[in-house]
């Protein structure tokens, strides 16, 4: 040994010293369910397509998006975006404009002609879909991607269901709807319009269908008894909206009263304004807080000059006058009459008291249970009759599923997807396996310090004068720069987005960076378990676990 004076040992590295043995807790990487994904009734992986959008990978983003929802341009307009209500960023500054980005992606797809291949080779199975609303289209699209032959039977002359006959064109332009329906039909889905189905079992037998998905929607306006003289013009909100879509709007007169407090009531009143009504008044028996209409609809209606009368019912109508009775809320929040009345001028009374489904096509089908006007379905969206599935507005919430009391386009798209996957499994005779939901990524798990302050980008709105006179789309879209900005506001709650922070902050150099897309790994030989990485992870994707000895 040739060593300097007084030196007896060879030089060594501290790597020989495995400090991991000090540890009593260990950090582990986790994936948590982001609140946006959790809240999406269509089950979209929102965080995933926002991530793709952040580096302008719009087609990739769109392809992830349409795995769950074939109608992004429609949804980017008509969805009431529960994702944004749930968004954790709302607790920091303002929610990410998810709906606006979805619309941007949907519009990009239409503009660039992105399309979808049917996917798997033919299964030889034939599935009948009744109704071409969001639920029916969603199911047909998913079934086609799974390789089945699909025929949609639609009673109306045009496809789209309530997207066409319930949502006015100022919220959803018809060319957008057409483009997305055409894309689905273009995948090889047979679409038969003007063909109401009256006996489902007979049609299935005659057409050689192996399974059916029913999604006829709730098209019939509910009526309330209003004692009305002959001279008063009374009509249902759905027939008003659909006749406008058909290009033959009715003559409403100058003073229009809409009875009801849902989104359809708002749409009817806003439509009346556009048809020239100087006074459009909504009469609702409870208060604003208890109105089922979404806030944004109520706000936009008010902006357009629609007036609201709360706590009122219509006691009678005659000769262009309505008699309203004032209500008050009892201790349970139910409205009760006060006996006080007032009068209101009205040329037309529009009833928007909700819709119900026409379930006559199911009469005579054994084992189908109908409760409170909707068909009962299992967790797999199957009715009591094997092979017949149902969803959308005509079905109750799937058993065991989350109860979403909304009847929206988004819920319907979710039903369609769920049903399609169940039908696929049923046709193959296998049990469907549903992955366990990850624990929710709550706001408290985030370290928001790392997200720079960034206020939300609002979509432009049509000026009021044009909103009161035309059916032009009210809400504009984002352009690319602000869509990109908005996507980058996503905090990636609960899932690693490779910000390198854990790799940076470890005092023991015990985090290994595995390369782009591969995330990181802990080197437990040296990790002392200090927990700095857990504390400093911006998105809460690391958890501490006790060390088991």
């Amino acid at each position: 040994m040739d060593k300097p004076f007084a030196i007896t040992l060879d030089p060594g590295s501290s790597l020989a010293n495995h400090t991991g043995s000090w540890r009593v807790e260990r950090p582990v990487y986790v994936d948590r369910l982001p609140p946006c994904n959790d809240a999406c009734p269509a089950g979209e992986n929102i965080q995933r397509w926002l991530y793709d959008s952040e580096d302008a990978g719009y087609e990739q983003a769109w392809r992830h998006l349409i795995e769950d929802n074939p109608l992004p341009a429609v949804m980017g307009r008509a969805c009431f975006h529960p994702c944004e209500t749930a968004c954790n960023r709302g607790q920091l500054d303002e929610a990410v404009g998810i709906n606006a980005i979805e619309r941007f992606l949907g519009d990009q797809a239409i503009m660039n002609g992105w399309h979808v291949e049917p996917g798997k080779p033919g299964s030889g199975k034939r599935v009948l879909v009744v109704g071409s609303g969001p639920a029916g289209l969603s199911a047909a699209y998913q079934l086609r991607r799974l390789g089945h032959e699909v025929s949609i039977y639609e009673a109306a002359e045009m496809p789209g269901g309530m997207m066409r006959y319930g949502i006015p064109s100022y919220r959803l332009p018809r060319d957008v709807l057409k483009a997305e329906v055409d894309r689905i039909v273009g995948m090889g889905v047979e679409l038969v319009v003007g063909r109401p189905v009256t006996d489902i079992l007979e049609l299935m037998g005659a057409g050689g269908f192996d399974a059916a998905f029913l999604a006829v929607g709730a098209q019939q306006s509910r009526n309330a008894y209003v004692p009305a003289g002959d001279a008063t013009h009374v009509m249902g909100a759905v027939s008003l909206l659909s006749s406008v879509d058909a290009g033959s709007p009715p003559l409403l007169g100058r003073r229009v009263v809409v009875y009801g407090g849902g989104d359809t009531a708002m749409d009817a009143a806003r439509t009346a304004r556009r048809l020239g009504a100087t006074d459009a008044v909504i009469v609702y028996r409870r208060t604003r807080e208890r109105m089922p209409a979404h806030d944004i609809e109520v706000e936009e209606a008010a902006e357009e000059g629609v007036k609201m009368k709360w706590l009122s019912t219509i006691a009678g109508a005659d000769q262009g006058r309505l008699v309203l009775e004032k209500m008050e809320l009892d201790e349970h929040g139910f409205p009760r009459p006060t006996g006080e009345t007032e009068e209101l001028d009205a040329d037309t009374l529009v009833l928007a008291l909700g819709q119900q489904a026409d379930l006559s096509l199911l009469s005579g089908v054994p084992d189908v249970v109908i409760d409170d006007g909707v068909v009962e379905v299992s967790e797999d969206m199957m009715t009591g009759h094997p092979g017949i599935f149902a969803g959308g507005d005509m079905a109750g919430p799937p058993r065991g599923g989350r109860v979403l009391d909304d009847r929206t386009v988004t819920v319907a798209v979710g039903h369609g997807k769920r049903a399609a996957r169940s039908i696929h499994a049923w046709l193959q005779g296998v049990e469907i396996s549903r992955p366990e939901r990850h624990p929710l990524a709550v706001y408290e798990a985030l370290n928001t310090w790392y997200y720079a302050d960034a206020p939300r980008t609002e979509r432009p709105r049509l000026d009021l004068a044009r909103r009161q006179s035309s059916f032009e789309e009210v809400v504009g879209g984002l352009d690319e720069s602000n869509a990109l900005f908005e996507a980058r506001r996503c905090m990636s709650c609960g899932n690693c987005f490779e910000c390198d922070n854990c790799y940076g902050v470890c005092p023991d150099n015990a985090v290994k960076k595995l390369g782009v897309g591969k995330r990181y790994a802990f080197d437990y030989d040296y990790c002392k378990g200090c927990g700095i990485c857990v504390e400093e992870c911006p998105c809460g994707a690391i958890a501490m676990e006790p060390e088991l000895i």
């Binding site: 580096d55 997200y451 720079a452 390198d500 922070n501 150099n509 700095i532």
Partner: protein, 383 residues
Amino acid sequence: MTDDAPAIARAVGTGARTTPGDSPVGQPVKFYQVGSFAAGNRLLDEAHRSVQSTLGRTNSLTSGHRACQGCGEALGARYALDAAMRAAQGRMAVVNATGCLEVFSTPYPETSWQIPWLHSLFGNAPAVATGVAAAYRAKGRDDVRVVGQAGDGGTVDIGFGCLSGMFERNDDVLFICYDNEAYMNTGVQRSGATPPGARTATTEAIGREPGNPFGQGKDMPRLAMAHQIPYVATATVAELHDLEAKVEKAMSLRGARYIHLFVPCPLGWGSAPHDTIRLARLVKECGLFPVFEAEHGEVTSVSKIRRQVPVEDYLRLQTRYRHLFGSSEPGGSEGRPDIVERIQRIADANIRRLGLLDETLDEGPPPDGSGGGLSDRAAAGVL
């Protein structure tokens, strides 16, 4: 993407500043989710990412060192020296004073250092660094840079004479002080950098003025500035981009340079190991530790407070201040709100003196790592 695709999208591809040829700080591309404040950023050019986010970082201080769980000094040393290694293109020698950093990294015959590293005594690190620099100069090796480093004891107390001389002679050394506010290696004794009110082994929490007395101690960054050396900066382990930018700036200059780096000590402060970076963040956000840079004795920029907090938020996480806060148990102490108030006044004075608060929204540090608040040169006008 259309031809008139917005600038922001184009800028992503290049990682470029929107106005090329602008000041060194420039106008950054705006990044949000991807952590303008986090170590890395997948949307940025490699060249503009922090040293710590890269696979190729030196790891000057590698794994297996015997620092406590959550050691701020071990973290700060790797942050600073890795940045210095990049700036010096790998040609660098480091002189270390005695202290935790030396003891936990180099128990004979092992070492955690992956850079040329020299230890002599507790008090003479600045003088040895001066000698190393002189030796390289004599050999005509101006390309090799020299860094001296010490804890707060080795800097403000024991090594102060040597350091002052090094400053006065304007020797070509970057000296880094890792300030954890006491002699931690020997058992948490008070140093000249221990803050008022803090309990140490030699300033127990007893008597009318429990903990370290007010009105004593040394404000080392200001003492360094008084030497009129080319560059003085303060930084914390909570602001990586800012720290790396300052090290890079210091390495771009010649002569005596000084960086005072705030590094929490879980053992000596009685804080949770996972709170190390949080404490470093809070101390700056409450105003107790101003983060700024100065050239030739003049403050040239300050890092603004982003989310101001009362000093109590910082103090409460540390048992060395426990005696200042009452106990909820029956018969428990009432604490010393008067002392907390005095500490708050120190923070308020710092905020006033350096203009640490700004009404304008903080847009975050530029992703090219040139330091957040540093971009605000206007702040210098306030001083």
